[in-house]
Amino acid sequence: MIRLEKRPQPSRGWSIATPLVAVLATMLFGGLLFGVLGTNPLQAIETIFWEPLFGEFAFYYRPQLLVKGAPLVLIAIGLSLGFRAGIWNIGAEGQYIIGALTGAAVGLAFYPLEAWYIFPLMVIAGALGGWLWAMIPAFLKVRFGTNEILVSLMLVYVAEQFLASMSLGLLKNPEGFGFPGSRNLQQYDSAHNADLIANTGMHWGVVAALIAVIFAYVLLNRHMLGFHIRLTGEAPRAARFAGVRPSRLILLCLGMSGALAGLAGMFEVSGPAGQVSIDFNVGYGFTAIIVAFLGRLHPVGILLAGGLMALTYIGGEIAQGQLGLPAAAIQVFQGMLLFFLLALDLLTNYRIALQKPEVA
């Protein structure tokens, strides 16, 4: 008879090992899935995890790793703060879109003026846009006790419609021959989030992501607010006795995650994506949820997890081109990863004990 015994404290060893085991399990079952789809499983796994890093065209794919990893890390860091305190912002995709729109709008408003202050203003506008969009669920939660999960998610659909309206209307390129989408910011020097060192993929978003990691690490380990966040998540009652004000925490956590998601959107639209278009968002806001959990809600873990997830994106694209693996297979693969992670977390918090059945 197998029984579960709750550990007095989560196991440190398992909490580091579970993400690794989960990745291995995902590779195994993902390989099976690819096999069922008629692709050679070993070849598929190799293409996804090896090719982008060490393959023949790695010089092209490695910069992509930074380009795809930066928004994931930036968003996931923000989400992890809230998740730790039991505040569930799952509408990062919406905040990402709004940040991109406000950031791009500020840039486009200055066109064709060239000046050094345009890009910093866009950064501020992007963060502000994401922050404002996240303040809607935060305010409703604090003021009316409305469920932030549902509100933040509903706002993703609203943001998507808003994006469509903007790229067909207000922000549409007046010289675009009627095609939807804004002017290309890559061709507007003052607003272009270019590679800091050419062809490395190292743009301002990557710098911001690294700063966010350090910031979150310091916040959680060295700052009172970080302690309050962790305390609220682990022992809400104790937190209340310790004088933590839940509403302040909700506003701060949702606000920070919104601002970071908005930044991610702004860096994407002014750099790799280049223009506001109906479908420029590719679901980073949702994948970042997986990244946050895979990184165990720890800043350094998130950095590594963001890199791994970016790898599956790029490897997935290569596998699509070379092996004809469907794009959705990678989405399933990423979803699987979250499953194994959550399931294996059992080992962190519980001990599995073998026991003879006893008579009650």
Binding site: S165, F286, A328
Partner: protein, 306 residues
């Protein structure tokens, strides 16, 4: 703009069609939450139901088999949630999100060869006499059988929760799982059954979209209906008949905005398309003051130490 083109009888009839997927998904989730489990994977189970139902209906030519497959598909996906939350004792919010993310990916993988295919049509009911009545005929008596099944499920859930022993036990488990366990009820088994029922209902709701409402398969076609269904359960204060009311309200908003789009109202299409989501938020705000009717053990992890 030509509002006179909107026919009120057709409007109400299509409102009921638009409400049915929501209604099915929401009544399933209501049972799950009554058992004390919060499954945020409704959207994922719906979309998997939508494609399983669609695929089987196309392959067999029978919409009925399609709906059966959708229920099985939704329930099968919900068993993954069971493994995570009831066996591995994982956080229910995170597990529900995982289910949705996984379901969206899985459905687009399954649906690749079904894009642009036309499904077999399910014949609408025709009751001689009743269906031919003016006004009431098209509104009440000329729909597909699944729409009536949805209403019947609501009635059944209401009756079971209110009048039967099974319903009482289910509610006990949702209010206080430790007490229910001490009384000798199998908390985990009851919850598994509830989750599977919720999955089957969500699957049916998804298939209703892909087989009857639209009817075709496109990726991500549930477009947040599963999330609105979750909001609907809160709106209904966990009461079955209010789910029906809420679903018709949301169905009404959807249909009216679609009709206004078609009529060419001066409001841009995108802003009209936002309206169901904004109404959901508004309703949540109005109703969130009263949380007293939520099951007390909702979302809490049950671990029997003895």
């Amino acid at each position: 703009m030509d509002l006179s083109a909107i026919n009120p009888v057709l409007l109400i009839a299509s409102l009921m069609v638009a409400a049915t997927p929501l209604l099915l998904a929401a009544i399933g989730e209501l049972v799950v939450e009554k058992a004390g489990v919060l499954n945020l994977g409704v959207e994922g189970m719906m979309i998997v139901g939508a494609i399983s139902g669609f695929a089987i209906a196309v392959e067999t030519g029978s919409p009925w088999l399609g709906f059966l497959a959708a229920a099985v598909g939704g329930a099968a996906l919900s068993l993954l949630f069971v493994v995570l939350t009831q066996v591995a004792l994982a956080n229910q919010v995170a597990s529900g999100l995982a289910l949705t993310l996984f379901g969206l990916g899985l459905s687009s993988l399954m649906g690749q060869s079904y894009v642009g295919v036309k499904p077999p049509r399910m014949a609408e009911l025709h009751i001689p006499g009743l269906s031919d009545m003016p006004v009431l005929g098209p509104i009440l008596f000329s729909h597909d059988p699944v729409l009536y099944l949805g209403v019947a499920i609501i009635a059944a859930v209401w009756a079971v929760l209110k009048f039967t022993r099974v319903g009482l036990i289910l509610r006990a488990v949702g209010e206080n799982h430790d007490a229910a366990h001490a009384l000798g009820y199998k908390v985990v088994r009851i919850r598994i059954a509830a989750i599977a029922f919720g999955g089957a209902c969500a699957g049916l709701g998804g298939a209703y979209i892909s087989l009857i409402r639209v009817p075709q398969w496109t990726e991500g076609m549930t477009a947040g209906v599963g999330w609105i269904a979750l909001a609907l359960v809160v709106f209904a204060s966990w009461k079955p008949w209010r789910v029906l009311l809420g679903a018709y309200l949301f169905g009404g908003v959807t249909v009216v905005q679609l009709n206004l789009q078609a009529a060419g109202v001066a409001i841009p299409v995108e802003y009209l398309a936002m309206s169901p989501y904004l109404v959901t938020i508004l309703v949540l705000v109005i109703l969130s003051a009263d949380k007293s009717s939520a099951p007390a053990a909702l979302g809490r992890i049950f671990h029997a130490s003895h």
